[in-house]
Amino acid sequence: MGLLEDELRRTLADRVASPPAVEHLADRAIAGAARLRRGRALAASLATAALVALAGGAAVAIVGDPPREHTAIPGPSASVAPVPPVAGLPTDVLVLDAAGRGWILTRDGDSVPLREAAAQAWRVDDGWLVVSADGRRLWLVTGSGSRTTLVEGESVMVSEGTAQRPGIQVAWAAGGVLRLGTFVDGRIDNPVTATGVRAASGVNLRPWRVVGETLVLAGTTIGGGLDVWDYWTPARGEFVPSGTGSANPAGLLAVLGVSGNRALGISANGPGDTSGCLGEFDPDGLVPLRSACTHTFSVGVDVGIVPSPDGRWWAVIRTGGVALYDADSVWTGASPVRTWATAAVAVGWRDGSTLFALDKAGTVVTLSAAAASPLATLPLPPHVWPVLPIPDLRS
């Protein structure tokens, strides 16, 4: 055994020589488990929900599990009463109540019950498309709360349509079989199918988002994070895994967002990288098109890029806050135009210059490209767990 290995063992032991005392671990675990069972494996499925929730949606990106500050385990007296509507929301918001049931709070001042926990939702003409908390079912939910299951699989995705694939895109995968169709008049039309949808390393791939004519796919290796990326372009035929057994197509570390028909993310310089240059990729092939190495983006630090509806601005969600970039000058290395110290779970755009962020405490924060400070803050009701803002895909 080498000196380094010996020192490593001593170092690790030293670091934990005096751990702090922690109380009530068992009681909190028991209470949490009861809540999990009531909420249909809520905690486990929310990790999945975070994965699913990144899989599409107009102008909204989310990161991480729901805010822990707002997830204090309720006691026996926790309210299971209906979640009241909230006036003045800048966007529809998906929340969970103390019993683990989902609710949609609308910006019109309505409160729509979902009866089960949900991972993500999108506003559509007929109501809302809602993904179940386990990420396996897609429902169409009306304003009265009635629910129809549209598709079911191991994972489902809803994505805004593109010029090449117009209309709301729905994808679902099971057992390596992937289907992609269009949501029309309350049903899924014209599905196309690919088989053998696994990464070259064997990792299962889930639909992430439609970009241009391509369906970007994502998977996980250890630990549940999105660290494997691939793609399927239906017009080119069957799915063929890219890469050579390593995680991703060469040059790609992570995909963080979409701008027009391009994927935005981190260009890797070499294996094992966790940081790289800001990069723009052709989704058909995940081929790097350009990069800006004056911007170092890091996995785990920079977690989402959300362009404004007109593409003028980029909201970048990163550790410690949200940064606003000018989409034109970002490629020449320009610094952020704005930075807000809002610990955002998710951000979305209300219009070309106004955005909102959902923070860890369950507060909806309204931001503007024209203002250095938040314009408004609005807390969600107590005993409610915020999940996501709901993108509006209505025509």
């Binding site: 055994m1 000196l3 020192e7 670091r15 486990a44």
Partner: protein, 204 residues
């Protein structure tokens, strides 16, 4: 609490036996969680998640030994979860948010510096080091916890140690310790020793 007459204890009386399990093992598991995430607050968070999931699965685990293995696996998976790293903003960094702990200068190496480099490793490589060099698991046991192939454990471990050597060398340590170079010998031997036992096996 009655125990089975032969073999491992079985899990029959759920809440009370679970509380006993937590009382006996949580301190050790908290230490492991800390080494995985580098912060006591986050470690508690990760451990709480792992224990909650363990209790959900309590009745089907069947045995205390299975419960601990299950908890450790959930602990490591949660700690290395990319989402959790995003959420807590953990990043490979040269800057530690917490002050150095203890006298780390006995021996040839500043252990604060070594810990800083360990923390800067990718989460999965760090997890392999913690399981191999703190938990003293074999490569096979480590692979089982992480749910990966043994070869993956070997490569993570080798890359992590190589990175540490490089960074220590860049810090000027190599000049003082020529024998820092990789030692000959198989990595597939159990890394077992006596250094941590007094710390690891202590109950809460």
């Amino acid at each position: 609490m009655a125990e089975s007459r032969t073999g491992p204890r079985s899990l029959r009386d759920g809440p009370d036996e679970f509380r006993q399990f937590v009382a006996a093992r949580s301190a050790a598991l908290l230490r492991t969680a800390y080494l995985l995430v580098g912060d006591w607050s986050h470690a508690e968070d990760v451990l709480q998640t792992a224990l909650t999931r363990t209790y959900v699965a309590w009745r089907r685990l069947g045995e205390i030994e299975a419960a601990e293995a299950y908890t450790r696996r959930v602990l490591v998976t949660t700690a290395t979860s990319w989402w959790r790293r995003r959420w807590h903003g953990e990043r490979p960094s040269e800057v530690l948010p917490e002050p150095a702990v203890g006298d780390a200068t006995d021996g040839w190496l500043d252990r604060t510096e070594l810990w800083r480099h360990v923390r800067s490793l990718p989460a999965r490589q760090r997890a392999v080091l913690v399981l191999r060099f703190y938990e003293d698991l074999t490569e096979v046991e480590t692979a089982r916890v992480l749910g990966v192939a043994v070869g993956t454990v070997k490569s993570h471990c080798a890359r992590a140690l190589a990175t540490l050597r490089t960074r220590l060398a860049e810090s000027g340590v190599e000049a003082a310790v020529p024998s820092l170079a990789p030692q000959a010998g198989p990595l597939d031997q159990p890394v077992r020793g006596s250094l941590q036992e007094g710390v690891r096996d202590g109950a809460a």
